[in-house]
């Protein structure tokens, strides 16, 4: 079905700041027309009561291929993305071998052709992500990388980060920073606080994250380079970024749904699905993250989708790798925790989950505009549902949200004019 018209829905188009009735005409996989106002004739796709948005963009996912295909593959991850309403994802380079050279990037670009959504590789900043020597970012950019990061870990050495940021500036792309100093984090497995003291689990203090956020902001200011702060979890981090934006520095910031819906007290269950880096923080931090989202401190909400196999999560807490999947629950959490509680509205949500990440990565996405690829996400904002294991399309099931009741769900995901996910 390459040619069709979507009518009856509410268009949510941050690029125009438009939230209202409208019609989308799709011809040959591209958007032919975007008409505002109520439709005259009923189109073939009836979106009554639904929201029609530019396809969502998740700029922080781990697709595990090459090397860890037992956790996820580019293809299986794309199915999960489609089920979550994402039409584009950018995948991190902590694969095996890592994406630190043009061949590796080309491999992902090639595999992406079989995926049901657009997949863009993020290359490593340093060789093998070791943080010691710059990787061949120029070659990787030519091969199709859209940004660079050593994500999974922060760049521990400050002069290396400075040079990486300056190099990215030259290439016209953003360096993405996983902000955590390993020495301060001291091999901890959860937030350092009164809870970690009671539970006897090693703590990762918030200053391990905040100190590196402060570093990246100062490097951005000093060198004039752009930097994107990934997965911010703490109140202190929100405050630092707020000040950086006041100074109009080229700093963009991202947070994840788990940082506004879960807190460290839940670790009493020692559930390894709650183990993540940076860790879940206190209720105070959760509130600060929500305020940061409401006040525009954050530019992006991304999932940090991190699949791990069952036998890796069914281990003693210290031995289990950190991370949770998130593609299938990201939008539902935004809808249930933020929009339902009036922290933000749908226009802002789509800006955070589509328009701005597309802009930062400089990929053709995030706008409903004539001439653009027909990547469209249709959402039922009132749909009440309970998330079960059967809803998980990812190869891995490591999520703490099974059994959670949500309000709001993706009902249809359209990539290049083709429906890649439809809720039955």
């Amino acid at each position: 079905m390459n040619d069709f018209t979507i009518t009856g829905g509410t268009i949510v188009n941050p690029v125009d700041n438009y939230y209202g009735p409208g019609t989308i005409v799709v011809k040959k996989g591209k958007i032919a027309e975007v008409r505002k106002g109520k439709a005259g004739k009923r189109g073939n796709v009836d979106a009554s009561g639904l929201l029609v948005c530019p396809g969502l963009v998740d700029m922080h996912v781990h697709l595990r291929e090459p090397g860890f295909e037992y956790k996820e593959t580019i293809y299986s991850g794309s199915l999960a993305a489609a089920a979550g309403g994402f039409t584009s994802v950018a995948c991190m380079p902590n694969t095996d071998p890592p994406l630190d050279n043009q061949e590796a990037v080309r491999f992902v670009v090639q595999k992406a052709k079989e995926a049901v959504v657009h997949v863009y590789p993020i290359g490593a900043l340093t060789k093998a992500r070791k943080g010691k020597e710059l990787a061949e970012m120029g070659d990787m950019l030519q091969a199709g990388a859209v940004a660079f990061s050593d994500d999974g870990n922060g760049v521990q050495n400050s002069v290396i980060m400075r040079r990486a940021m300056e190099y990215c500036k030259m290439l016209g792309v953003t360096a993405i920073s996983h902000c955590e100093f390993d020495d301060l984090a001291d091999s901890g497995v959860m937030n350092e606080g009164a809870v970690s003291s009671r539970l006897g689990l090693g703590g990762r203090p918030r200053i391990a994250e905040e100190l590196m956020i402060a570093r990246e902001i100062m490097l951005a200011e000093y060198t004039g380079s752009p930097v994107h702060i990934a997965h911010v979890s703490s109140a202190g981090g929100v405050e630092l970024i707020k000040q950086a934006k006041k100074k109009k520095l080229r700093v963009t910031a991202e947070t994840c749904p788990h940082y506004f819906s879960l807190n460290d007290e839940m670790l009493e269950s020692y559930d390894t699905n709650l183990k993540v880096h940076p860790p879940l923080r206190t209720k105070k931090d959760v509130n600060a993250v929500k305020k940061g989202i409401a006040s525009g401190v954050f530019d992006v909400i991304a999932s940090d989708h991190a699949p791990h196999a069952y036998e890796e999560k069914a281990l003693e807490f210290d031995y289990s790798p950190p991370g949770m999947i998130g593609l299938e629950t990201s939008l539902a959490l935004v809808s249930t925790e933020l929009i339902n509680n009036k922290v933000i509205d749908w226009l802002e949500a789509v800006r955070l989950m589509s328009t701005t990440p597309a802009y930062i990565l400089n990929i053709p996405a995030g706008k409903l505009k004539a001439g653009e690829i027909a990547d469209i996400t249709i959402i039922d904002p009132k749909h009440e549902w309970t998330f079960t294991e059967d809803d998980i399309k990812s190869l891995s099931k490591n999520t703490p949200f099974v059994g959670k009741k949500f309000i709001g769900r993706v009902v249809r995901t359209i990539v290049s004019g083709k429906t890649v996910f439809e809720l039955k």
Binding site: G193, R198, L199, G200, L315, E316
Partner: protein, 310 residues
């Protein structure tokens, strides 16, 4: 009266009534240890697996003796000579042994939360013999038993716990148990060895030993691991000893009729002087004897049957 949980994972949240039940039971069971035949047939229908993933002398032998005195079948597990060296996971290990029909698992492990993890994935009753830095409930219980044996009560006593509180499961279990029974608890350590926001556990916090000992009835001295120096938490053990070692000279700050305790093994001269450890106010060896009785009590109370009620 019975214990609320079918497992013993820790003393946090355990009520004073339950603790007293365990202690009272231990009093009567202690008598068995001085009989000519140190055995009663009560638990001969129970098989207990002692799953020790961390080395231990005291606790392991204490549990084994407690099990045997109650006529339970006791099977041991030494990590180094097991399939763990072949990479077998904890769950696979337990499931395989459970397939041989066991009733209880006594587990000691270096990762906090592992006993709770087992309760969610296995069918046996679980007794925590020490998990990471989290809890060591039977040690807490035998410490409290020993204090109660001497003073007749716990309420109103002041107990000072001195040592590496940050990494101590013994400290945490003691804090929960003592507070449940109405004692006031002080912790004392160099700042680098205090847990974050430890005062939120309801204890008074000191970094000077004289202040911690002032007005205390009981001092529970914790072992200082030599590795803490190489981990950068302390400059030297010598300096720790200078500032924190429980010496005869420092005993003057304590209340009359004080008590010295130590969970063992001791680093003589580091956290406690030999004089004090072997002196007349030390109950360190009583703690060990009481440990068997307390563990017998725990095994007995958790071993309720599964069939008809009278």
């Amino acid at each position: 009266m019975k214990l609320r949980s079918q497992h013993l994972l820790g003393l946090e949240g355990v009520s004073a009534d339950e603790i007293n039940l365990i202690l009272d039971t231990a009093v009567t069971l202690k008598e068995i240890l001085s009989r000519p035949i140190k055995k009663v047939p009560t638990l001969r229908h129970i098989t207990v697996l002692n799953l020790f993933y961390e080395p231990s002398t005291r606790t392991k032998i204490s549990f084994e003796l407690a099990e045997k005195r109650l006529s339970a079948d006791s099977i041991g597990f030494a990590k180094a000579s097991s399939s763990v060296v072949k990479g077998e996971t904890l769950l696979d290990t337990v499931w395989n042994i459970e397939a041989m029909k066991i009733d209880m698992v006594v587990i000691r492990h270096s990762v906090s939360g592992t006993p709770l993890f087992l309760t969610k994935n296995c069918s046996s009753k679980i007794i925590n013999a020490g998990d990471g830095c989290h809890e060591h409930p039977t040690q807490g219980l035998l410490d409290i038993f020993t204090i109660r044996e001497k003073y007749g009560k716990i309420e109103g006593l002041r107990v000072a716990i001195v040592g590496d509180i940050k990494h101590s499961r013994v400290a945490r279990s003691n804090i929960w148990g003592l507070k449940a029974l109405g004692a006031s608890v002080a912790v004392c350590a160099p700042t680098t060895l205090l847990p974050y926001e430890v005062e939120k556990m309801g204890v008074d916090v000191y970094t000077r030993i004289e202040e911690a000992l002032e007005g205390a009835d009981v001092v529970n001295v914790l072992r200082l691991q030599k590795e803490r120096q190489s981990a950068g938490l302390l400059p030297t053990l010598r300096e720790y000893s200078n500032r924190f070692c429980i010496t005869t000279e420092r005993l003057k700050y304590l209340n009359k009729n004080f008590t010295i305790m130590h969970p063992g093994p001791m680093n003589r001269g580091v956290e406690i002087s030999s004089e004090v450890a072997d002196g007349p106010f030390s109950v360190i060896l009583s703690q060990v004897t009481n440990g068997v009785a307390v563990r017998m009590a725990v095994l007995y109370l958790l071993s309720g049957g599964v069939g008809k009620i009278e």
